[in-house]
Amino acid sequence: MPDANVLPDATTTDGALLVLAIVLPAAGVLLSFVLGGRYAERIASVLLPSGFILATIIFGDVWQSGHRLVYIVGDWKPPLGIALRADGLSAAMMVAMAIVICAVAIFAHADFGMRAGSVEARAPFAFWILLMAIWGAMNMVFLGGDLFTLYVAIELLTFAAVPLVCLDGRAETLQAALRYLLFALLGSILYLVGTALLYGSYATLDIVLLSRRVHAEPATLVAATLTTIGLFAKTALFPLHLWLPPAHAGAPAAASAVLSAVVVKGSFFIIVRLWFDVMPGLLGPVGAQLFGALGAAAIVFGSVVALRQQRLKLLIAYSTVAQIGYLFLMFPLALDTASAQLQGSGALTGGMLQAISHATAKAAMFMAAGLIYVVLGHDRIAELGGIARAIPMTIFAFALGGVSLIGLPPSGGFLAKWLLLEAAVATGQWWWAIVMLAGGLFTSGYMFIVLSSAVAPSGEPLKLRVAVPRYQEAAALTLALTSLLLGLVALGPIDILQVGRADSMMVGPR
């Protein structure tokens, strides 16, 4: 399959940046571990912003050149060695996740800041190291060019995410963490058995090599099924979502933001890699409709349950279950009916944009919910009265996040849903359009419940327990604004999502 856009595998100029994107977080984790909790935050505060800069440089490189960056680790080309590759999808996701993680780091300073001169404390020590580990693991997921490397990456992600759930050590969160761990382990072991079968059939796990060799045969089909089910469990796609709400709602606010915004996107990204890059021709119309149906069920179920929640953090967590559903609508919409191949079209762009805008919006909402909890000492939705007057900036951030989730212009959610709707119309699959519109209505419903309660006057004068630091509110608002203005990328670098796709129309620098 000769194609101008598939580069011969060799390290490209600036490929070393990809190594840096993995080595920096790993070094941060090791260094913080030795130096102890007193330095962990300082190390993170240097490394995380440099990670963001690194991601933007990689983004710029990929966008400018219109080609992917490749680095051959150890100078051993696949299939023997491992390649790191940054295509448009990786670059865009890297930048988005770096933004969220940096904002979370700013937000978390209030809860996990190191007091000068104090001894090492447990929660900050763990939090900063785990945050850097999540950043590294996500970069691995985005850049890894080998399915087994991706396995190690999602295990890294699991081991970094689970302890975040139960940092406060309450019985409920311990239980949630244990359940999360068991689901995640089941997911990764199913993924692993799939890679074993794929290796058995093709003697390589390299994504590019596999995509050239892969064909429909029993072992491959079994491998694809098991791998996908495993990743569904890790992404919390309905009906394998049971672990998500208690885990995401019980964690400390900063941790919830990372878990909901970042961590579930890791396994989702591998699903996209598998089906769009490794075996685009294998899903077929039936499989694609099945993915879409699960997504639709997640939207309906998640939204309905979210509507019935009494507590804010649980509502947001169930909203995550619903929003994950949207991500899977892109599979039936990206299927080219003539060739029965998944194609990098508007639907893929829409889906990835949905992932990014959900990440920024949801992180902002969890941060806002955390601040509300700090101020009121509870997060019961019915008793939020007067809060909008007390911390207007936070409530504003929450509302803006909601705007993006609902999909109002000019938010990223709007552009994402617009692209998906366009694809639904173009391919004549009107039923997905109905699901999307219904989901938007549900989302407006639960956003309305929360906001109307928040702006309502309080019966008695509101007793604020503590004042909220301004920078925490600013972090939430920044993310919400990012999500709101994400729709404007339509005018700019949105094409980057297609860079490095074999079937993309775009060639050459511009």
Binding site: F148, Y151, V152, E155, T158, F159, V162, P163, C166, G169, R170, A171, E172, T173, L174, Q175, A177, L178, R179, L181, L182, L185, L186, I189, L192, V193, T195, A196, L197, Y199, G200, A203, L242, P245, P246, A249, G250, V305, R308, Q309, R311, K313, L314, A317, Y318
Partner: protein
């Protein structure tokens, strides 16, 4: 049927056993044990893949073997973390269960699903 295939089928059956134990057994500790069984079944599948690709004077393809070694260590780390969670849960509540309804505490933070 050669030996490799035999052990492969054994691995497939173990995956089935482990999965069953993981899904149906309510005790977390037994779930962890079942996960290990499931894991070892998966590793055997790697073993078959390696064995039947024997070439160049080797008894098997070394690449899947190296992957299994990596995966065994990861599985051990996972087991250690899960057990630490179970024991901490025991310390906190006096019981070890995943079932929220009888955890004794006030389940204020839980959903209604």
């Amino acid at each position: 049927m050669n030996a490799a295939t035999l052990f492969g089928l054994c691995g497939a059956a173990l995956v089935g056993f482990g999965l069953y134990g993981l899904v149906t057994n309510p005790e977390p500790l037994r779930k962890i044990l079942a996960f290990n069984l499931l894991g070892s079944g998966v590793f055997l599948v790697f073993g078959v893949v390696s064995r039947r690709a024997a070439a160049s004077g080797l008894g098997g393809d070394p690449v899947p073997q190296a992957m299994v070694i990596t995966a065994i260590v990861v599985a051990f780390a996972a087991t250690a973390m899960a057990i630490a969670l179970v024991l901490r849960l025991l310390q906190e509540t006096g019981r070890s269960t995943l079932n929220a309804d009888n955890s004794g505490g006030t389940n204020t933070d839980r959903g209604n699903s």
